[in-house]
């Protein structure tokens, strides 16, 4: 699908589907974050490097994902 197709599709999208998609994207983002942080730690990334990659502080990423 090219970007013109997608933008036509988004402007004609039923808001119920659009809002459900946003919820689904949040869930997907949380899950991709959880699995990626676990793999980054296993490969030796520091909390600071992971925080920088996610655009949040070392403390907040550690509070969320640290054991």
């Amino acid at each position: 699908m090219d970007s013109a197709d997608l933008s036509t599709r988004l402007t004609s999208l039923d808001p119920a589907v659009g809002l459900r998609a946003v919820g689904a994207l949040h869930r997907l983002a949380e899950q991709v974050e959880a699995s990626s942080v676990a793999r980054a730690r296993a490969q030796g990334w520091s909390w600071e490097q992971i925080g920088d990659a996610l655009g949040v502080s070392r403390q907040s990423v550690h509070a969320k994902h640290g054991k």
Binding site: R9, A21, L28, Q31, E33, A34, K64
Partner: protein, 156 residues
């Protein structure tokens, strides 16, 4: 309200929290309460409730998400989707999940019962209207709400 919960209802609510983590949600919604309540109905009530089990609800929720993502051009099939870490703070209920808890309490009063059971939660969940997440999934699964409510009340 929580002190009036029967043991299975407490277990249903803590399962709802677990279902939220499994799905990647940071609040407990009506769809998670539905999954928790279905998992803690007494085995004897299996055929007397909604006519669907927790597995069917999980599958339908996943399908609804996949369809919505496809509608915005996102294909997440095959992506590793582990449970998200438990929050250190208390996980809040969504506002519709709070109304369902209130509705379960109203059902208990109507019956003159003393304890809130998973069946009371299910009766309150049947009252939700789309686009509430539990209502969406009940519709997707073709649950006959009036018939299910009758069966649950008769079994009480």
């Amino acid at each position: 309200m929580f002190e009036q919960f029967a043991g299975e209802t407490r277990a249903a609510v803590s399962d709802a929290l677990e279902e939220a983590r499994l799905r990647g949600d940071r609040r407990i919604g009506t769809e998670h309460l539905l999954l928790g309540a279905l998992s803690h109905q007494p085995a004897a009530a299996a055929g007397t409730g909604l006519g669907v089990d927790a597995g069917a609800v999980r599958d339908a929720l996943r399908e609804l998400d996949t369809e919505a993502l496809t509608a915005v051009g996102v294909d997440a099939r095959g992506v590793d989707r582990p449970p998200i870490p438990a929050s250190r703070k208390r996980t809040p209920f969504t506002s519709s999940a709070k109304s369902v808890l209130g509705g379960a309490l109203a059902e208990v009063r109507r019956e003159g019962a003393r304890r809130i059971t998973p069946a009371h939660l299910l009766i309150a969940l049947l009252e939700t209207k789309e686009p509430d997440p539990a209502a969406d999934v009940l519709t997707r699964l073709g649950v006959d709400r009036a018939a299910a409510r009758e069966r649950l009340r008769r079994a009480a």
